[in-house]
Subunit: 206 residues, 2 copies
DNA sequence: GGAAAACTGTACTCGCGGTACGGATTGTTG
DNA sequence: CAACAATCCGTACCGCGAGTACAGTTTTCC
């Protein structure tokens, strides 16, 4: 890793924390560079403008989350051959990871950008949309595997169920931030887990 | 209603649309007053600063939502004496209302503020927290009524279940905005409805 | 009609995003 | 070691938007 790349990484790290804490619009470049220890010229050498910063922050964020999900769901499958059990285990692991964050979840960059969309160019918005689609496709794949073994109760659309996990996480992050109670996120993941359990492993309804 | 009050209302209306579309930080006072048809001096006559604007926007938003919820859940109880059925009806009504919004849900002001928190003073943040607590308490009351008749499956915490509705709505708004697909919100409310149905009306699990 | 409320107009400060550009280090490579 | 590029600094500047100050004007309402 060259020196330039290290600097970029430092800027992105500082910027991400600031954006999640205060929103993109309220995060000034000047405070970012002060925290990161370089000058304005240095910053604009690495990023053409604030949009370029957002783009790179997003890529970083999405990559980190992808790796986290890879880990968690691989570990689930590793601990059980049954697709439903594996997923339920993974959800519990996910809840634990979220609960272990010292100051609560810092926030979802996607959501943060969602509520600032006019500030960003098309490329950034496409990136957020694509990453959400990718995550939901991943979950959908898991539910397909589960449904093949356990016929689901009621007429549950598996795409909707996959969306639901994203919704729960994003919504619970907002809830826990708003109420200043980090534990809410963990609890919501676990109640979603109960729902999944009911949908697939309970007796069939009329 | 005096003329001043009408002007305030006009400003708040314009500002809310702008904030939900672009975020609070990206909404300039200048464009708001241009749209509302008054001068800068006129604006600052009504609002001390941007924070005061946020505070009044919030009050307005919370009041509007409160009235909407009052309507919807009253209508549900009106259509069925059974607490579970009444709630399920209300959820369907809620889904319909959300689906009928011409350009999709404009966004949740609470969430918008949540991701900009450092921009606001304590009073604004307390207001968001209190309104969320109020809504969840309302839902919790409904679930109490249901649980009194239908013993819930599994060990479901009713507070968490009440939180879940807020999470689903907030999360689904983000999802539908990010993917530019308004129908996602309706579908998420309906799948939450399925979850509630399963939890209370299904046969008991082991 | 007169006081208070509801504005307008002008002129200013300040911080921030962003540009421009010259120069100074620092690393890298032949 | 020399030369070259990558990396970063300093400074000076522009434009925009939030917010202030304050005097003057119109509207509303009793």
């Amino acid at each position: 890793m060259g020196k330039g790349e290290a600097t970029r990484e430092r800027i992105l790290e500082v910027a991400e924390a600031a954006v999640l804490a205060k929103g993109f619009g309220a995060t000034s470049i000047e405070e970012v560079i002060a925290e990161a220890g370089l000058t304005k010229s240095g910053f604009f050498y690495h990023f053409r403008d604030k949009n370029a910063l957002a783009r790179e922050m997003l890529r970083r964020y999405v990559d980190t989350n992808d790796r986290l999900f890879d880990d968690i769901f691989a570990r689930g499958r590793q601990l059980s051959d049954d697709p439903l059990q594996a997923f339920l285990i993974s959800l519990k692991l996910l809840a634990e990871v979220m609960a272990d964050l010292p100051n609560g979840h810092p926030g979802c960059l996607i959501a943060s950008i969602c509520y600032q969309e006019r500030l960003f160019d098309r490329e950034v918005r496409d990136l957020t949309a694509q990453s959400v689609r990718d995550w939901n496709a991943r979950f959908r794949g898991i539910f397909d595997g589960i449904a093949a073994v356990y016929p689901p109760k009621e007429a549950v659309d598996l795409d909707d169920l996959a969306d639901m996990l994203s919704c729960i996480v994003d919504g619970a992050i907002i809830l826990s931030k708003t109420l200043n109670d980090p534990r809410r996120l963990e609890r919501q993941i676990l109640i979603f887990r109960s729902c999944v359990k009911l949908m697939f492993s309970g007796p069939t309804l009329s």
